[in-house]
């Protein structure tokens, strides 16, 4: 028998996880529905505010939709795959993380598999659908680079959020009750990226848009796709840099994670 690939093993662990969850069918259906509703509400909120002044940050409906949909697609995809890794703190508190470290697989990979929540698939599908619609209605001068960029960018955005989820969860190795702090950047990041970055002001805008890189999830990519200049004056070539920023974020998160695992103090007996 050929040796099974690493991916196959993870798939099996994942399937086992889904089978365990499927035992609670009714609440699964309800949560699937409710999470889609929440996602829809997030987008609806953007447009409720849009309707007040007939624009957001000087952008029209099509650009705003593109940004909000890109943010939703990125976040929901990340949330589907990694949104529950912050359960690490529960695993650490109960000492369950030990058993992940005792298996011949990557601890992070296993953590992803055991915290995977299928109910979030609804949100991801909704987000990606909305993004497709937004691309169709947006005023984009299609060419090959833009097409490739449009395909890649929800996934780089998702990878960016994944890095945040991992980094946020890693804090639990030192500070178990840190959950809410991570929320400020994950859920806060989702809210931040749903709106054009030029709506924010002062140091807060610079810190989140450029310093932490949230501008590269939806705002700059949307500008790159529609070919619009940035009202904040960030040069045009930088709008295309989302994949690079994401790569940097992933590297940082990976290094941080490894550092965290080395500092794991297995509690309890």
């Amino acid at each position: 028998m050929a040796e099974p690939g690493r991916l196959t093993i993870y798939t099996r662990v994942l399937r086992a996880q889904i089978r365990s969850q499927a035992q609670y069918r009714l609440s699964f259906a309800f949560e699937l529905f409710a999470s889609m509703l929440t996602n829809a509400l997030d987008i609806a909120t953007v447009f409720v505010l849009f309707s007040v002044g007939g624009g957001l940050g000087g952008f029209g409906a099509r650009e705003v939709l593109l940004m909000a949909a890109l943010s939703a697609a990125s976040f929901a995809t990340a949330d589907l795959t990694m949104g529950n890794v912050d359960n690490l703190r529960v695993y650490i508190r109960r000492g369950v993380f030990d058993s992940l470290l005792l298996r011949p697989l990557s601890a992070l990979g296993q953590l992803m598999a055991v915290t995977f929540a299928l109910r979030r698939v609804g949100r991801a599908v909704l987000g990606l659908t909305l993004y497709t619609v937004a691309l169709c209605v947006a005023d984009i001068d299609w060419d090959i680079p833009r097409l490739l960029f449009a395909i890649v960018v929800p996934f780089t955005g998702a990878a960016f959020f994944c890095s945040l989820f991992v980094a946020g969860a890693t804090v639990a190795f030192w500070w178990i009750e840190s959950g809410e702090v991570a929320n400020a950047f994950t859920y806060g990041g989702r809210d931040f990226t749903s709106y054009p970055s030029n709506m924010y002001g002062g140091w807060f805008r610079d810190l989140f848009t450029l310093g932490l890189g949230f501008g590269f999830v939806a705002y700059f990519p949307a500008l790159a796709l529609t070919g619009q200049p940035d009202p904040l004056g960030v040069p045009g070539w930088l709008h295309w840099c989302s994949p690079l920023v994401t790569l940097a974020a992933m590297c940082l998160a990976a290094v941080f994670w490894r550092f965290g695992v080395r500092h794991y103090r297995s509690t309890g007996s």
Partner: protein, 266 residues
Amino acid sequence: MPRVQLALTSAGFRRYATYRQATVAGAFTNTVFGFLRCYILLSVAATAGGTVAGYGGPELATYVWMGQGLLAVVASWDQLDLAERVRSGDVVADLLRPVDPLWTYLWGELGRACFMVLTRFLVPTLIGAIAFGLYRPQHAVTYALFALSTLAAVLISFCCRYLIGLSAFWLLDIRGVTVFWVFVSGFASGLYFPLAVLPGWLSTALWVATPFPGLMQGPLDVMVERGGIGNALLVCVGQVAWVGILLLVCKWAQARAVRKLVVQGG
């Protein structure tokens, strides 16, 4: 306050006072969201000619920052222990005590709310006042009405969550109800955007037919003196009426639950 109630309240206070790190973490998150939402609403106001649905700059800043502070005080997203205790069967011990569990939980909840006012409410309010400048009420009586309105909001939230906890007597898994509550109480309480932004018929329907605006929008509208003292009084009266109705519903549901427990043995 008689001694038992005082003890229960202070126990609730002290219980949350032990979660120091979580309190710091929570206040930090509230602050980040405060900046985020405040900038968004101010930008919307700038586009729309200075106001959003009649709220000017300082009113919007107050709505956002005090709203972030009230979030932890009203705590509509955290479930009471009751639900877990019903599920595990420990609730029998609560029902055997000489004090009605409804009041036991209520006093504990007030203690929790007091602690949150001193920490999670004050921190974002101060930061918002420094960073953006908040609305300064014209009348001194507004502060008293705001306190009353906040107390009513805490009680409304408590009753709703108590009912959700009791629903565990009949439902095997209350996660669905919980998710529904988080959704409705977020949207219909004015947490995401001021309810006045909605079409007139919808916001009126929410105010008249549901207790949800009383959770957040009520106290915040009182604070920014929207519609003057008259409206503030109206908001408070409405909230108090909802508290009365919901407490009666809680009593009724609890009596049914106890009967179910006695007859069917849980």
